[in-house]
Subunit: 453 residues, 2 copies
């Protein structure tokens, strides 16, 4: 038994030392605390995401935040893996990573049961994801992200539905078409164009060179023209790099693209979206998106107000990620929509609803009537009314203030008289109007009051 | 720019090597994947918890999984901190812990805004928590846990409401009183008794000795009588240890307890609970619970079936945890209810509902009618019907099988004829009954069908 008490004593000593230094009440750097009013906004955001995803028949799944580190070594962007993951070694000497994104995890789930699962699958989840970043507007170290993915051979239909769903979620938040633009591109068009430009210059690009070029193009807006040129030349060699940059004029690229079959399919997708009423889309010829695993369609949604310049969210097609697990590909298309950029957007456009308490009735107590008040509350809860009973020692006036500060609309005060008579004065706090009701009629009175209020 | 491309090349090389070894599709050891059918059960559990907590007027909050390690060094149980936390050093050299429990975090939140928050507070959250344990039944490394806490001077009223709430949640899951017992104790009774036994033997226990004894008592069932005696003597010294063990007979303890004011208050609590209809409670005189921070009431809920012998969940009063932040105490009482033990209980008592898809209608497509089918779906979604449109390339018979395997009840097949006429054959798949409806009547037909089916 020595080990138990040795451990206990060590901890006790530690405790004695530590006890004198008060801890900070701040959360860990870069993550957020959600007090009830913040949580109400968070719930509004995730409830809206969830309800639209389910209207489209998407099924919810969930995985652990912890994943084996190997899951991210291959296909996630180099920037994220090398500089931005939370990775550590566990007590069993395994390397573990807090997921920075959900796509590898959902692919793992599908790969794990590919024989049993009826393809095509439409799946969604709202996981938290971690990235070790310098906190700034719209970027925190932990964010929650709606992920919607379609697995299976769905061709352009899956792409249309994914964009339709993304558009519908924005509408469900109250966003109108003029508030956001969906920028679309197709990586096949990009790589076909690159290949053509290179071969016209007498070069042939291999898969890794193409990938390196796409990564640099993805960072183009963050780089000066000189930095961009240098990065290109370092990545694929000075000669090819210079050829690509020199030949990559809008006219030349436009002429090449016009002939590509991949462009024609992409134009057809846009036409189909127009037919379904999605008109705030545009072809963004240089859009890449920062993940290596995209193989076709990529898209990003932008705020048109000029207030939030980074993309709000985005996604695309990733047909080969199943390779990670040594399996035959299953085509896949999806998107991830983070809560922070979306919240900035909703704030900019004044689309966040005002706070409403989920508690309908506050029962104030006068004297020692707690048990009676709790009994009344139980009768009402059985009728699906949410009721908060006073538990404190404040006077009636202060209890009313408490109810108001909690945003609760209705109040009854329960004293000995009320318990004896079974009759209560129901107060609607915002309007200060009152009504006399019996216990049996209380739930009904609340529902009808709410409709008229 | 050298650093960017150097990093890129390093990753590319790495990528090339890794590519040949397929990854496992298993999750990280000891955590769970929730496929849609598992997720439905998880959602049933958390939705039920959430709805009862909100019926009691509890407000939801949320914190990050990551907390500074210091938060757990003082008041969480020694066993958990020393052996069971996931703790690592981040890229900024901070020691970070994945929360093993929620109580320190919620206390941090309250401490952070104690001047602004209107006490008493009733708060709930359903966080995931991590412990590095050997996986076994009812114990996994990641579990989700409903936490309900009341902060403020609420005396016995807060304790009653917490137990009422815990009881009501069990009822909401369909549990009847004979299926579970709520075992109650009060640490003050325990420490008063210990102090009395020691002083009768001529000894005086300091705070750390008392704490060490409670920790050992908490492990009593896991220890043989010899191990228990040895642990006691090692913790507080051979002499006091022997005195405590010798004097700790049921008769002697009973006689001491009968005179304690703390017992009388505790009996009053039980009487009040009886008055409110909570009768499946019992005083468990040796119940401690494994966290150092409890200061009064402790309780644990047990399955009476004999199938699940560990406690299902529990909680208690912790009046001094605010000390961590160098602040005046705020009395607090609460409980934590984990999803895994609860799920075992619900399975044992056959209280888990059968699976129901959240998607009401499947639209099968015949020929190239996807856009039309999606248009029909959009009309129905606008009327709050959840609709899954076929995206695959299967034939009609296989699409019907797909809908059935997803558990979707209703189906329409959309071909050119249906799109032209606007008339559809609505199939109720479980009963194979059919009805002819127009697009305008479809939503209405689904709702009335559902009521009758």
């Amino acid at each position: 038994m020595g080990f138990v008490t040795a451990r206990l004593s060590a901890t006790l000593e530690h405790t004695m030392i530590k006890k004198t230094t008060p801890l900070s009440t701040a959360p860990y750097k870069g993550v957020r605390d959600f007090y009830p009013r913040d949580m109400a906004i968070f719930n509004h955001i995730t409830d809206t995401m969830r309800s639209v995803a389910e209207q489209f028949g998407f099924e919810e799944y969930q995985t652990s935040l912890l994943e084996p580190t190997e899951l991210y070594l291959n296909k996630t962007s180099a920037e994220i893996v090398n500089e931005q993951t939370y990775t550590f070694t566990d007590r069993g000497d395994r390397s573990v990573t807090l997921r920075p994104e959900m796509t590898p995890s959902v692919t793992r789930l599908v790969a794990g049961r590919r024989r049993e699962l009826p393809l095509p699958l439409k799946w969604y989840s709202i996981p938290n994801c971690f990235r070790y970043e310098r906190p700034q507007k719209g970027r925190v170290r932990e964010h929650w992200q709606l992920n919607c993915d379609i697995f299976g051979d769905t061709g352009v239909r899956g792409e249309i539905e994914i964009i339709l769903l993304a558009h519908e979620i924005m509408k469900a938040f109250g966003a109108r078409d003029e508030m956001f633009t969906i920028k679309l591109n197709n990586r096949t068009i990009l790589t076909d164009t690159l290949t053509r430009v290179a071969s016209d210059g007498g070069y042939e690009l291999d898969e890794n060179q193409t990938r390196a070029i796409l990564r640099i193009m993805d960072r183009k807006e963050k780089l000066s023209p000189e930095e961009y040129a240098n990065a290109m030349q370092e990545a694929v060699g000075a000669e090819i790099g210079r050829t690509l940059i020199d030949a990559h004029t809008p006219e030349r690229v436009g002429a090449i693209m016009a002939e590509l079959p991949s462009l024609q399919a992409f134009v057809a997708l846009q036409e189909e979206l127009h037919r379904l009423g999605i008109t705030n889309i545009e072809h963004s010829t240089e859009l890449v998106r920062g993940f290596d695993y995209y193989t076709g369609l990529v898209f990003e949604v932008f705020d048109t107000s000029g207030e939030n310049t980074r993309s709000l969210f985005g996604g695309g097609r990733y047909d080969n990620l199943m390779e990670l697990f040594g399996q035959e590909p299953i085509p896949a298309v999806g998107f991830g929509m983070g809560d922070t950029a979306l919240r900035d957007f909703l704030e900019t456009h004044k689309l966040l609803p005002s706070y409403q308490s989920r508690t309908t009735l506050y029962i104030a107590t006068i004297g020692e009537t707690f048990a009676g008040a709790e009994y009344v509350a139980q009768q009402l809860r059985a009728q699906d009314v949410s009721v908060s009973v006073n538990l404190g020692t404040k006077k009636l006036g202060e209890q009313i203030k408490q109810a108001e500060s909690l945003g609760i609309e209705f109040l009854i005060a329960v004293g000995e008289d009320e318990l004896r008579s079974g009759t209560f004065t129901l107060k609607h706090l915002p309007s200060r109007s009152e009504r006399t009701v019996t216990l049996d009629d209380l739930a009904e009175a609340l529902f009808s009051f709410e409709e008229h209020a």
